[in-house]
């Protein structure tokens, strides 16, 4: 109960912070950016408190002890929202890119609100025992690594949107104030590239870890389960992005579209596959 209350407060703070991010796009008052960061940071604290309680309840089930509670859809959504917000606070906060909040944070909000919706539709925060195959130390590594990669890709997506907006502004020949507030084309492009370049190896390692775990648990490294397939597709799209950029100099719009396609794959792998996958389905398992 307490867990879901704290989670909902955190979600509300994320939404409020994101709202300020949108206002900040059109109003150059620095306090907006500062308050956006403050709200997000407080949200993260509430979220961590909520996660702590979740962990306690999760560990109350003996076979779950010491494993991360991300075996349910709620657990995964919650972790996702936390990861995207935390990545934003760290990356954009450090580079003083509060202006990107409006582009990146909607994904955190979507994940958080998805969690809120899930809590209300399920009536609880989905704490249940781990299936025997999942009772492995990999449970603490594989999903975590993958989610970090997803959060980084989510940030890259937001940066990509900002880049498209900035390009449009400059092409219009009548740039609005927004143009002078957003980072430059080359900065956004570099940030987009760096985020993907950071996320890609993490995702690859995460997938390989998944393979090793699958080998231990199910006796095969790779089984073309829908999630496995789609995560491979995701990794391939990002591999194309990196290859084309480094070899062919794909930048700007073309690069952003590729990076966006990659993130569409991420979202599908994360949400859509639940309806297809027997082994990885948060929605089908239980």
């Amino acid at each position: 109960m307490m867990e879901s209350v704290l989670f909902q407060i955190a979600s509300a703070l994320y939404v409020a912070g994101t709202g300020l991010g949108f206002v900040y796009l059109y109003n150059r008052d620095e306090r907006l950016s500062r308050w956006m960061h403050n709200l997000l940071a407080v949200g993260v604290v509430f979220h961590l408190a909520s996660s702590g309680i979740r962990l306690k309840h999760f560990w109350d089930i003996p076979e779950n002890r010491w494993y991360l509670p991300v075996n349910s859809f709620f657990g995964a959504l919650s972790a996702m929202a936390l990861a995207i917000t935390a990545t934003f606070v760290v990356v954009e906060g450090r580079h003083r890119l509060g202006i990107l909040g409006a582009f990146v944070l909607p994904w955190a909000c979507l994940a958080a609100l998805g969690g809120v919706f899930r809590v209300h539709s399920m009536g609880d925060t989905e704490i249940y025992g781990l299936a025997p195959a999942l009772q492995s130390y990999w449970m603490n590594i594989h999903p975590l690594v993958i989610m970090v990669a997803y959060a980084v890709f989510g940030n890259a997506f937001g940066v990509g949107v900002a880049l498209l907006v900035q390009e449009r502004q400059l092409r219009s020949k009548r740039p609005q104030e927004l143009c002078y507030r957003l980072p430059s084309i080359e900065e956004l492009d570099t940030l987009n590239y760096r985020l993907v370049a950071a996320g890609f190896p993490v995702l690859t390692v995460g997938i390989i870890m998944g393979g090793i775990w699958a080998h231990n648990a199910w006796g095969r490294f790779w089984g073309w389960d829908a999630k496995e397939t789609w995560s491979l597709i995701t990794a391939l799209v990002y591999a194309v992005f990196l290859h084309q950029r480094l070899v062919k100099g794909w930048r700007g719009r073309k690069a952003v579209y590729t990076s966006m396609l990659g993130f569409a794959c991420v979202v599908f792998t994360f949400v859509g596959v639940n309806f297809l996958s027997r082994l990885h389905g948060y929605l089908s398992a239980r």
Binding site: L170, P175, I185, E186, G249, W250, R251, G252, K254, A255
Partner: protein, 377 residues
């Protein structure tokens, strides 16, 4: 203690000769005369477009004291200017000073140079030991309000010259220009002005291609020791290693074609190319701007942005006026409280880091090079 102001500005319609006399006298001379006349606190703001004396009087009727200030100005002008002078005291004087430091009283709304001039007028008076509690506080306050007006409202937002708009756009494409290389086509006056602007953003490289190589070399030498003249026929090949092209030749036909840009793009590996065409007739083919990663701005585009910035500043005047009015009111209230012997302090805007600016107003006058400024002296 009352704050008094006697002054003239560009709107006052004083004869040119009188204005020249006043400008020639200078702030230091005025301070000397003020001291001789028995004034203990005074600051003189003297620029091409204004002469204002702010003084504090302990005793006597403000009207009389203002009359004395007016006579002092008239003596220096060597002509009757009495009818043109504005004489103010208390709240009205404070409001005027804040409006001046905010750039609201300038020919070019929100220009930055006046803030530096207010600061140096204060420093000159301070060095001459002509400031005390009231003038210290009102001038530090004026610098603070000037900064706040510019930070909180849009009165000094946006560039007001074609060259500075072009430089600002270049920064929207490349971030800092430190890794960007500039190529100037032509060596005329416009090329020089725009070149200086781009140079102030410190690009990594600046090359000049002109049909007459010698003229290009001359401009390169005039601009910067780092600038380099190149042969006209070599410039298409340089597009591969150039980020910003500034075209300003007298050629009757476009000299930079879409085909030239297109063939340079693969080697650029997707890096943006900013083409600035300030030539009349045009130097760069319109079609070049349709290419991916290429941004083409013409003189008309840039002028359009300048006009827009100008009207945007004008729209912000009322917001800045409100700020000035509120700050002047705050100051007048503070002064009244001090006079009544109460404990009073002037609040700063809560939670603002502008406070720093008040203690040490360093760098206030850092106007952007080449921006139209009203009060250049």
């Amino acid at each position: 203690m009352e704050l008094l102001l006697a002054g003239l500005n560009h709107k006052s319609g004083v004869a040119a000769a009188a204005r020249d006399n006043l400008a020639a006298a200078g702030a230091a001379e005025f301070l000397r005369r003020l001291r001789e006349a028995g004034w203990e606190e005074a600051v003189v703001l003297s620029t091409c477009n204004r002469l204002e004396i702010y003084a504090a009087a302990a005793g006597g009727e403000p009207k009389e004291r203002l009359g004395a200030l007016a006579r002092l100005i008239e003596a220096a002008a060597g002509a009757p200017v009495g009818g043109h002078l504005y004489l103010r005291s208390g709240f009205d004087a404070a409001r005027h000073l804040f409006a001046v430091s905010s750039g609201l009283d300038s020919l070019v709304t929100g220009e930055n140079e006046i803030l530096g001039q207010v600061k140096s007028a204060y420093e000159t008076a301070f060095a001459a030991r002509m400031t005390d509690k009231l003038t210290n506080i009102i001038f530090q306050r004026a610098i603070f309000v000037g900064r706040q007006a510019r930070a909180d409202t849009g009165i000094s937002a946006g560039q007001l010259s074609v060259a500075s708009v072009a430089a600002a756009l270049a920064e929207r494409i490349f971030g800092t220009l430190q890794d960007s290389s500039v190529l100037i086509l032509g060596a005329g006056q416009m090329a020089e002005i725009a070149g200086r602007h781009l140079l102030s953003a410190k690009p990594s490289r600046l090359r000049i291609a002109n049909r007459t190589f010698e003229r290009g070399s001359e401009l390169a030498a005039a601009l910067s020791p780092a600038a380099e003249a190149v042969r006209w026929e070599d410039f298409p090949a340089l597009l591969e290693t150039t980020d910003i092209v500034l075209a300003s030749t007298g050629a009757p036909e476009p000299v930079l074609t879409r085909a030239m840009v297109e063939s340079a793009m693969p080697a650029r590996m997707g890096r943006s190319l900013f083409l600035i065409d300030i030539a009349m007739p045009r130097d760069i083919e319109d079609a070049a701007g349709e290419l991916d990663h290429v941004y083409l701005y013409t003189l008309a585009d840039l002028q359009g942005i300048v006009d827009e910035n100008m009207s945007r500043r004008k729209k912000e005047i009322s917001a800045a006026d409100r700020l000035v009015e509120a700050k002047a009111r705050e100051f007048a209230d503070w002064l009244a409280a001090v006079r009544a012997g109460e404990q009073a302090s002037l609040r700063h805007h809560p939670g603002r880091s502008l406070r720093r600016g008040e203690v040490s107003p360093g760098g206030v006058g850092a106007a952007r090079d080449g921006e139209p400024q009203e009060e250049r002296s």
